[in-house]
């Protein structure tokens, strides 16, 4: 995330900042391709319903496998949404050079990201997943763990963002806060896409 290059020559912070933002957006292109592929997997296997094993029906020996509620995924998305709003307020504060509000907004965003990941992990470990439960449960796990990875990165980035705000390192320019905001937007969208998919069982 550092804006420093190896150059002796000093560059305009806006030039470096916009370049860094483009780099992050391009990395997000890869992550977006990944997330869309996950959705493709979900809807492909749901549509194929191979051997009627998307959600296996009851047999003489086993009970029917029931879908999980998507409400948990939507709650995670809501937490991410509030976190995005909070980070957005931090970004506005950074632009207005109001450091205390920047620190507060960053801290709230960090706490929400920690809350979201804790809730997501709780959702995962409350599912009694065993082999043979059909491809729905496999896809559910895939989407849930994708969320965990995104949230873990969000916690890491938000921690740094809050700490740097606390140390008043954003006094000169707000590019890092703006770039973190790009990540928060994508985090919210990807979480929402996952919740959207899980609403169709």
């Amino acid at each position: 995330m550092s804006t420093h290059t190896t150059n002796h020559h000093v560059e305009d912070p806006d030039v470096v900042g916009s370049r860094n933002r483009l780099g992050v957006i391009l990395i997000l292109v890869a992550d977006i391709a990944f997330a869309l592929s996950v959705l493709f997997v979900y809807f492909y296997l749901k549509g194929q319903n191979v051997n009627d094993m998307w959600l296996p029906k009851a047999t003489e020996d086993t009970a029917a496998v029931l879908p999980l509620s998507s409400s948990g995924a939507w709650i995670v998305t809501a937490l991410a949404g509030v976190g995005l709003l909070s980070h957005g307020s931090a970004l506005r504060a950074a632009k207005a050079k109001q450091n205390s509000q920047l620190v507060l907004g960053s801290l709230v965003a960090l706490v929400l990201s920690i809350g979201a990941i804790a809730y997501q992990l709780n959702l995962i470990f409350s599912v009694n997943f065993v082999m043979g439960m059909g491809s729905y449960y496999s896809c559910y796990m895939l989407i849930a763990w994708l969320n965990v990875v995104h949230l873990a990165l969000t916690v890491f980035i938000s921690l740094g963002n809050w700490n740097r705000a606390r140390l008043n390192l954003y006094a000169k320019d707000h590019w890092h806060v703006a770039i973190v905001n790009v990540w928060w937007i994508w985090m919210f969208v990807s979480s929402g896409l996952g919740a959207f998919a899980l609403s169709f069982t």
Partner: protein, 625 residues
């Protein structure tokens, strides 16, 4: 390659902040990687529960193997120092100027090649060495395959080991060919060619290189525990049931995919934002277009492959059912995900190699590049269409037969932009005043090999012909003509062409010619022989074959040995020229692109004053060189 630097003060070197950075290098990375893997392996053996009775395809050993490989990866990356930058950012202790200079390798001499060095020139050299090593490993495996196929009843290699060798050869060579141009030359040459002082993200640049080094261990580890018995495609559910070595493939691809994504974002940002003043898109060298098209294609394609392997690992290790039809999965799902990456990947390999030759053709013909715009349109056309052809690999799989004809059409359409690139090269050669060097001869070799590879590809894109030819040695010969005959030929030419700038020495011309002819003649013998046995029906990836294919296989094996000899000559020439070659002048080829305007050795930041570009790079007249 050396850089001109001023030595920092002794006090700067002994600053306590830099102590950790100074200690980390490839040896600490290897040590930490191995220790992490062993510790996690022991812990997993101790604490992971035994499999349940219902476990069919997944097992405890897969979990242990994957966890150990992940531990290796994390340990290696920590040990090389890849995580220092991000953690320093989080702590709010950004790297100082001195520390950034240290990362850039300033005053470190040869040690900087064994560290997480950020200078793009060092990364380019590291990529070159890594590429040569990977090709060497892949080449040894190729010779094992061909030697074994010298006998119709199979040879001295156990069929299971033969499968592992074929699979490993395939994926190792694919990775080597993906990085062979964009790695060494995209990193070393490209920033100077556009008039930049470094890449946009120097630390990401080093990260992309060291990720590839980290990825090498799992695939070699995999060879020792059963290998890749599935071929490089690793189709599921076959891969879910393959030996433990398959986990090496999975980890290798996952790590390599991250490297590709990072490199793609870095190179694209560099070209978009850091071109010299006056270097409009019309004045940007065609090689840059080739590199950007390649990485831009890889950027969305490799995550799909990454996902396919994560799901493969989950199927193997925790019993999910993405690919297991008995439990609701689908083998076609894997095939789609794989080839969504797999076909663009062919052009990820080819485009930069062809673009490198298009860069060289004007230099050695003293002609302007024939129709720059056509070349750009051709590259863009291939890139765009390559995302719409993946299912031609699946005609015979039974997936969506109604889509076969649309995919046949898109595949055949791709020959139009490919033809444009041929036209550009031939137009540039036309009435040129040829300076017959080995890179120049490589342009002719590419035209010949790519023509054969392309025309045979049209047959394979045709559904009725593919029904007969798919899965045969004909397919193997076809893609070797494109990836090796065209791609590798372009990469070797690029090596000889840019060698003076990268090392300050001239590549031995006599040895380069000897190697060129041995490889090209051996190549025609080997793969025309392979076309013939393929047409006659010999299946690929099979250790034994009927007597009727004996002659063709003997010819192919003979050709392969000639290629091997030529490659060894090339390797010797590379080492010899690097160590003892004639000192190169600043611009031995009298080329007009920016990289030839900087002195040898190249200063750390390339340009003291950034250049301003006023014309394109192809303004050659017919003057005497």
């Amino acid at each position: 390659m050396t850089t001109t630097l001023n030595r920092p003060s002794a006090s700067a070197h002994s600053a306590p902040k830099r102590a950790l950075i100074e200690r980390l290098n490839i040896f600490t990375a290897l040590a930490l990687g191995v220790i992490s893997a062993v510790v996690v392996w022991r812990l997993a053996l101790q604490f992971l529960p035994q499999d349940s009775e219902e476990a069919i395809f997944f097992n405890r050993e897969d979990k242990i193997t994957l966890l150990s490989m992940i531990a290796w990866f994390i340990g290696f990356m920590v040990g090389i120092g890849a995580l220092i930058g991000p953690f320093r950012w989080v702590m709010g202790k950004d790297l100082s100027h001195d520390e950034n200079m240290f990362y850039a390798g300033k005053d470190l001499g040869v040690k900087r090649y064994f560290r997480y060095t950020t200078d793009h020139k060092v990364v380019g050299i590291q990529y070159l060495v890594v590429t040569v090593v990977i090709f060497f490993i892949g080449g040894v495996l190729a010779m094992l395959i061909r030697t074994n196929l010298g006998n119709p009843e199979g040879g001295w290699i156990h069929p299971q080991a033969y499968n592992a060798i074929v699979g490993t050869h395939g994926i190792v060579m694919i990775v080597a060919t993906i990085i062979m141009v964009t790695g060494p030359f995209g990193n070393f040459i490209m920033p100077i060619m556009i008039g930049a002082r470094d890449m946009a993200f120097p630390r990401l640049n080093a990260l992309s290189l060291w990720l590839i080094v980290a990825a090498a261990a799992p695939i070699l580890w995999g060879l020792a525990i059963g290998g890749i018995s599935t071929g490089w495609t690793a189709y599921n559910p076959l891969a879910s049931q393959a030996p433990l070595g398959q986990n090496g493939y999975i980890m290798f691809i996952c790590i390599f995919a991250i490297s590709t994504m990072v490199a793609g974002a870095n190179i694209t940002t560099t070209v978009i934002r850091m071109r010299a003043k006056g270097m409009t898109w019309n004045r940007t060298p065609i090689f840059i277009y080739g590199v950007v098209a390649s990485v831009a294609l890889a950027l969305p394609a490799f995550p799909v492959f990454f996902l396919s392997q994560i799901m493969s690992a989950m199927d193997r290790a925790i019993g999910t059912s993405f690919y297991d039809a008995q439990h609701g999965g689908s083998g076609w799902l894997y095939e789609n995900l794989f080839w969504l990456m797999g076909h663009p990947e062919v052009y990820v390999i080819l485009i930069p190699a062809v673009a490198a030759l298009m860069e060289m053709a004007p230099v050695f013909t003293r002609n302007p590049l024939f129709s720059f715009n056509l070349a750009v349109i051709g590259i863009a056309g291939i890139s765009g269409l390559s995302a719409l052809v993946w299912a031609h690999h699946m005609y015979m799989s039974g997936w969506a037969p109604l889509l076969n004809i649309p995919f046949m059409l898109t595949t055949e359409l791709i020959s139009i932009p490919t033809g444009m690139l041929f036209l550009v090269l031939i137009g540039t050669l036309w009435r040129g005043r040829l300076w017959v060097t080995m890179p120049m001869a490589s342009v002719f070799a590419l035209l010949w090999n790519f023509m054969i590879g392309g025309v045979t590809g049209i047959y394979l894109s045709d559904i009725p012909a593919d029904a007969f030819l798919h899965g045969s040695m004909y397919v193997t010969a076809h893609f070797h003509y494109t990836l090796m005959g065209a791609g590798l030929t372009g990469a070797i030419a690029a090596l000889v062409f840019w060698f003076p700038k990268m090392t300050g020495r001239i590549f031995d011309a006599k040895l380069s010619w000897i190697s060129f002819w041995m490889v090209q003649i051996g190549f025609q013998i080997a793969f025309i022989g392979m076309f013939l046995v393929g047409l006659a029906g010999q299946p690929r990836r099979v250790e034994g074959y009927a007597e009727t294919f004996n002659t063709g296989n003997m010819v192919t094996t003979g050709g392969a040995y000639l290629i091997m000899a030529g490659m060894l000559v090339l390797l010797y020439a590379l080492i010899h020229s690097w160590m003892n070659g004639e000192k190169a002048s600043m611009n031995p080829w009298h080329s007009k692109t920016l990289e030839w305007t900087v002195a040898n050795p190249i200063p750390l930041e390339n340009f003291d004053v950034l250049p301003t570009v006023t014309t394109d790079a192809y303004g050659y007249g017919k003057e005497i060189r």
